[in-house]
């Protein structure tokens, strides 16, 4: 079954790298595996992980989402503007924020599906749009997140790392979606769109749903970031657009669609996050962090491409 081994090669490679990073990390920070460190780290990584999940979904359809950062900010803004104290208040605000980001994603998807515009330029134009909407919802940093929620999330809740739990739940949700017909159709549309259409798959519906799901996970990332920081900031999402692409690519998701696994994206996000943190411990100037990020990206993708490419002259 070399076929299956080949399919898991990149995941195994990422796992090995991650193990190396974790061991190094553990030596520099022995509290790595304590509940409080896990809570803190997972709170820190959650937005990037979920943003990368969203980006992965879009990339699986063969697209790319340049409006991810603004939509993340939008979700955050709607959440902090509407969040009231108490469980119902928070849940209502979450639902509203997610509804808005799902709608934003679905709007992107509808433009891609019906307008015949390439995803990259639809989402490029949409990035201006959603930035504007965010600024209307939340003109300056502020808003309100119940203090109890913030501390439970960041410091642990009866010893449970809520952010880690949230990531696990989100990924389980994806796993479920992945095994539905829609999940398979998503891969089919990404792998051969015309073929999928000719086989009776409603490719437009699949795309709109896919972008909608991406909106959902982007919104969750925004809410996570809001709870982590206890407030909203209309500009905070911007770096996530390119970072999420970097993570997805690191996880082996192809720009051409139809190829890649979510667990690889997860590993990519953890790897990139831990590596950056590691630099903070080693005392190397943080200026080198960007260089490291760029080099890791190039090396990882180049190794994968060169290892798997057809042997042409």
């Amino acid at each position: 079954m070399s076929e299956r081994i080949r399919n898991h090669m990149d995941v195994l490679g990422l796992c090995a790298l991650l193990a190396v990073v974790l061991v190094t990390y553990q030596r520099l920070d022995p509290t790595l595996l304590s509940p409080s460190t896990i809570t803190i780290l997972s709170a820190q990584f959650l937005p990037l992980i979920l943003a990368a999940v969203a980006q992965t979904i879009v990339m699986l359809t063969g697209g790319v989402d340049l409006s991810l950062g603004p939509v993340l900010s939008l979700g955050m803004a709607v959440f902090v503007v509407t969040a009231a104290d108490g469980a119902t208040g928070v849940l209502a605000a979450m639902a509203l924020a997610l509804a808005v980001t799902v709608a934003a994603g679905a709007a992107n998807g509808a433009l891609v599906a019906y307008a015949g515009l390439p995803p990259i330029i639809v989402t490029l134009a949409a990035s201006f749009l959603w930035t504007g909407v965010t600024l209307i919802v939340l003109p300056q940093p502020g808003g309100h997140v119940p203090a109890g929620l913030v501390s439970a999330y960041n410091l642990g809740w009866y010893g449970i790392a809520l952010p880690a739990l949230a990531v696990v739940v989100a990924l389980a949700l994806w796993k479920l979606v992945r095994t539905t017909r829609f999940g398979l159709a998503l891969y089919a549309v990404g792998g051969n769109e015309h073929g999928a259409y000719a086989s009776g798959i409603d490719t437009r519906r699949v795309k709109i749903l896919a972008y909608g799901f991406a909106g959902l996970f982007t919104g969750l990332a925004g809410i996570g970031l809001a709870i982590q920081t206890g407030s909203g900031d209309p500009n905070i999402g911007a770096p996530y657009t390119l970072n999420s692409i970097a993570v997805a690519v690191l996880g082996g998701i192809s720009f051409f669609g139809g190829v890649g696994r979510m667990r690889a994206t997860l590993l990519g996000a953890l790897l990139l996050g831990l590596l950056t943190n590691l630099l903070l411990f080693t005392g190397i100037s943080t200026f080198y962090q960007l260089i490291l990020q760029g080099v890791v990206l190039v090396v990882a993708v180049a190794v994968k491409t060169l290892a798997t490419r057809e042997r042409t002259a």
Binding site: A115, A125, A126, G132, I245, L290, R309
Partner: protein
């Protein structure tokens, strides 16, 4: 050219939309008819326009350059830094050389490492941003270089030098992309890479030249900006990253490559600058302004930049 061919030519559309928008601006907004306003618009459009011409070269071969923003900053910062020690001429040369090197590195990554253009240029952009932080220790310098000062701020017969430079670059670009052999190769690559390889298109050379030219133009834009403001900063290129791509697309060039005309990008850059200026002239909140800009771009793309369905 027949009427049907004109209707199908999206670059012509871009100029049409630009003309209509401009007329509408003159009719319905204050001050857009004056000579000084026109002059200022074309001057400010030049910065974006120069970057966008470079971007067109790579988009046409189905690539994309996400490192242009970093190269704009790189060129300005390096020039300012070097000029303070070794004089303006050295600064300019070193800055342009550094830009070209970035372009060559990008192309090398695509050709020999087979990376997708988005990944490679994103990565070089990130690395440059980091390298600039280290190089300047976080605080880049300012510099007054007479040549750049004149280039950015001077004018001849009422036309800003920056605009003259832009148009000259556009003319060179038209030759490179539409008249020269290399341009044909770029179009071929943009349409189908396997067919191009099998037709003997020199893929490495074409890629190297086009990406180097793109980076060089981003570097030129950085220098003009340095001359315009007299200062360099690490983020001075960021507005040009997405706007240069938007200009290319609004100019009717297909983001998938192989279709469009470089002159359309000139219209695209002007159109974007004009729209931004129009929105600035209206007293809207920044949020509404962004929403309007986003919607306008989407509407324009829907009007004439739709891709043909392959089905």
């Amino acid at each position: 050219m027949s009427v049907a061919a004109l209707r199908d030519n999206r670059a012509v559309w871009a100029f049409g939309v630009l003309g209509v928008t401009w007329l509408a601006a003159i009719a319905f907004a204050n001050g857009f008819g004056t000579v000084s306003s026109v002059r200022y618009l074309v001057q400010t459009a030049s910065f974006l326009g120069i970057v966008a011409i470079g971007q067109t070269l790579v988009v046409m071969m189905s690539g994309i350059d996400l490192s242009v923003s970093a190269v704009v900053a790189l060129s300005a910062v390096v020039c300012a830094q070097v000029a303070s020690g070794s004089g303006g001429a050295a600064g300019i040369l070193v800055a342009l050389a550094a830009s070209v090197v970035v372009g060559l590195v990008n192309a090398a990554g695509l050709v020999w490492l087979r990376l997708p253009p988005m990944v490679m240029t994103l990565a070089t952009g990130t690395v440059i941003a980091g390298a600039l932080l280290i190089y300047t220790d976080g605080s880049p310098r300012s510099a007054r270089i007479p040549l750049l000062d004149t280039l950015a701020n001077g004018s001849v017969a009422g036309i800003p030098y920056a605009t003259v430079l832009w148009l000259a670059i556009a003319a060179a670009g038209v030759w490179l992309l539409h008249l020269s052999r290399l341009g044909r190769y770029a179009f071929a690559l943009g349409t189908s890479e396997p067919a191009s390889r099998a037709s003997g298109v020199p893929v490495p050379v074409t890629t190297l030249v086009m990406y180097a030219a793109c980076a060089l133009l981003a570097g030129v834009a950085g220098l003009v900006l340095l001359g315009f403001t007299g200062t360099s900063s690490l983020t001075m290129g960021s507005p040009y990253q997405l706007l240069s791509i938007a200009s290319v697309v609004l100019g009717g060039t297909s983001i998938l490559g192989g279709r469009g005309h470089l002159l359309g990008t000139v219209a695209g850059a002007l159109l974007l600058t004009l729209l931004t200026a129009l929105l600035a002239a209206w007293n809207l909140s920044e949020g509404l302004r962004q929403v309007t800009l986003g919607l306008l771009i989407i509407v324009l793309l829907l009007a004439y930049a739709r891709e043909r369905r392959t089905a």
